[in-house]
Symmetry: C2
Subunit: 132 residues, 2 copies
């Protein structure tokens, strides 16, 4: 799913690359990091990563950062993405997070309508600096 | 420093609030989370938080997220912020991070010129959803 995407196609490698497994194991071991999968008929049709970020600001509030939201091409347009993000928001609220945050590439116009409709505000500029 | 800011003034509380200490202790205990302070003449004049985020995308690349960048009012305009962010970028590169990322409130025009000049690209929309 990571590679089946106009942006992802350029930057992913062999799924058997051991670096993927090492990253998975680190996330799995981290109590503040969760990889979520959506299954339908025993098949993974969606993924996302929720990271609970500590911080001193806002009275030491925890924030939930959503990354790597992907829905299988075969399942798009059926509301699964919306259900996944809503599930993540509910999970963050249940933990007592003060905020849910994510960034979305400015070229993904469809994604922006999607996040706007879910109640997010595009209040920030998302800055990236590639080191590779 | 968190409260001495047009946005921060509205959302911070008593510095002795135990929630600040609890958040500090969590960051301190997390091997992938660092609170950095800049000192001058024994006084803290700048702070920032570096979090090393795991992820499956980009061959399991680690990203460095910078949050809570603050420079003491008495020290602004002397290039300290630039030195701090450059130090963070160098530290992320030395760890092998593929990317440094941060978000900046769209109302902070001065900060945007600052990050542009440091080589960052405002390639993403930064979405926030407040739960409080």
């Amino acid at each position: 799913m990571l590679a089946d995407d106009p942006l992802g196609a350029e930057r992913e490698g062999d799924p058997g690359d051991p670096r993927y497994l090492a990253a998975f194991e680190r996330i799995d071991a981290d109590p503040w990091d969760e990889l979520i999968v959506a299954e339908r008929d025993g098949k993974v049709v969606g993924t996302m990563q929720l990271t609970y970020l500590a911080g001193l600001s806002r009275l030491g509030a925890e924030r939930c950062q959503i990354e790597a939201v992907r829905v299988a091409a075969s399942t798009r347009g059926q509301g699964l993405g919306r259900k996944m993000i809503q599930w993540g928001i509910d999970r963050a609220r249940a933990r007592g997070c003060a905020m849910v945050q994510l960034t979305s590439d400015k070229s993904r116009a469809g994604a922006h309508r999607f996040y706007d409709a879910l109640g997010f505000t595009a209040s920030h500029e998302g800055y990236k600096l590639s080191l590779s």
